[in-house]
Symmetry: C2
Subunit: 352 residues, 2 copies
């Protein structure tokens, strides 16, 4: 049965990516070997790593000062790599607390130095993005989380500051056009718009590194990873290759300008139904609503069983809200077709 | 063309594992969804994680005090997780320097405290295993590397000591019967005998943790990973599932007692040819030779082109020696069939 997959991540990937990944497992580049069985030093894989790093830079239009890495450990490992590489000894960093993940990032940062909350929407359960951030000149960096996956908020305008900007873009990277060059460090777990779980994209400014005077363990040191072309040790070969397939598809389909329009169409269609339909209400404040994760509640909980049944019959999966919010969360990442959103709104429309 | 894959890692996997991995990418457990597209919190994947952890414990016959984790970052990340979790502040640890990887592990350890070389075969290019280790009572742990992948040596007898034993078993775990309960920490990158690159098996004694008085970043803290059942954050779903397929196949084929005998047969067959054939010589000292990585040199380098051509015609791939040693390295991990070793010795036999 055809599924409409609204999972929050790992999430839907383009059909040609699934097909290409499966083929590579059976026979990679006509080597008569599986992608899983070859050395990562084999030219056929070295080429993959080179292409995926270059293509990422190209799609984000990054300046030459940037290097893109594909590491392991998810955004959670970046929570400690960020201070290791960017916070001076006895240093200070600002964190904007826009959700659970931002909070976790700040907690890890506090193991390394002073963490200052420059803003927080915790008192309203993170349903908006704090705007006027209390940034001070002594901060080694300002940490942002571009999209709150759990509540469905998204930063539309990034602060204009001289402090190095660090951004966790795990749940909305490659979904829209922004000036990626305003950041010193961008990181994103692959499992939303980049590929399958198991690798993390890191884009880092070389000129911003080497300033903390810390002894950094090799695997946590961006400079070491850059020096070894993102192969300091065996990379997560399969995940990296599948990311390449996704980025090729993204470029082939028109890049960020086209995907941004498609994502807007999907989000607008769904938010319009939530506003129109008296049985539902949105979770996030309107001006900060995410174009990736659309969170909504049933006003009348007694309709839940019926709505869930209708969704299930229509092949809709993965729309349960995060346990901390409840209700529903439709994650409408890049690879989700408009058709799936149309089906979902149809089901919402038929509920009464 | 049928290949005989002697790659050092990532390396050959069982045919049924390749098949199962490819099938799961197209449709996982008849969900009409790809394994790559489902939430790691979906019961279908939670079951996978539970089974692979349990099965690992079962195959190693580990006591209840152990927990098995499937983490990211390879053995290289364990090089810093080990001291973070096991070395007290101002502590001391012993490292046996049996190769390049042991040396790297010791280097990372030295960022956290005093590292003492309890033994080293560096002066003979690591072609043997140092036996009489200078262990002292004040050591927080003793770090060993069970198999040297580059030169082809292997520890046959582990030291008998009260100091907590830590062992990097990346290149020979699950290849033979040993008393795994003598260790406090075992770790192994998956990409030899466990599965594809992208995950790392960690078996750790719970009772040995929580003693360093360090502030450990969450992602580097074994206790945090144990507490969240090896899903502190999104795990490398595909790699973990493929490890499960491999361990199921290992168990199905008879477990460690049978695989040990099969590995001995392969290694003996190949070492016998190296000893018999006057054109070749082995790299490692006989008593310490590895049953996983068989390293050998051509005595007469002018025969190299001819030998490489014969290998290539026979479908033999991945036997180039590590660049630091030269010559040849036949990695004969669990999944490599005896047939491939037979073909290789035939080619060696026909060289003149």
């Amino acid at each position: 049965m055809k599924k409409h997959n609204f999972s929050a991540g790992p999430c839907i990937l383009y059909p040609e990516v699934i097909k290409g990944a499966s083929e590579a497992i059976n026979n990679f580049k006509e080597m008569d070997l599986s992608l899983l069985e070859i050395s990562h030093r084999d030219k056929n894989f070295v080429d993959v790593m080179e292409e995926v790093r270059e293509l990422s830079k190209e799609i984000m239009a990054l300046e030459d000062d940037f290097e893109v890495l594909f590491l392991q450990g998810g955004a959670s490992l970046q929570f400690c790599m960020t201070p290791y590489n960017f916070m001076k000894k006895n240093g200070v960093a600002g964190y904007s607390i826009t959700g659970t993940w931002a909070k976790k990032a700040a907690k890890e940062g506090s193991l390394f130095g002073q963490v200052i909350e420059v803003g927080s929407s915790a008192e309203e359960n993170f349903n908006y993005i704090p705007k006027k951030l209390k940034i001070t000149k002594n901060m080694d960096y300002l940490h942002l989380t571009s999209n709150n996956t759990i509540v469905g908020t998204q930063i539309k305008d990034f602060p204009n500051t001289d402090i190095p900007l660090v951004c966790d873009m795990s749940s909305d990277i490659f979904s829209r056009q922004i000036n990626f060059n305003q950041f010193s460090l961008i990181y994103a777990g692959a499992q939303k718009n980049i590929g399958p779980a198991g690798t993390t994209l890191v884009a880092v400014r070389k000129s911003a590194l080497g300033k903390t005077a810390r002894d950094i363990p090799s695997m946590l040191d961006y400079e070491k990873h850059i020096k070894s072309d993102s192969m300091f040790n065996t990379p997560p070969v399969f995940s990296v290759y599948t990311c390449l397939l996704t980025l090729r598809a993204l470029k082939h389909n028109g890049g960020l300008s086209i995907i941004e329009e498609q994502n807007k169409l999907k989000a607008n269609h769904l938010y319009k139904e939530i506003e129109r339909n008296e049985l539902f209400e949105g979770v996030a404040k309107k001006e900060d609503r995410s174009s990736m994760n659309v969170c909504f509640l049933l006003k009348d909980e007694s309709l839940k069983e019926k709505f869930d049944k209708l969704c299930s019959e229509a092949g809709i999966v993965g729309i349960n809200g995060h346990r901390s919010v409840g209700g529903y969360r439709a994650s409408i990442y890049n690879a989700l077709p408009f058709e799936s959103v149309r089906i979902l709104t149809e089901v919402m429309n038929h509920l009464d």
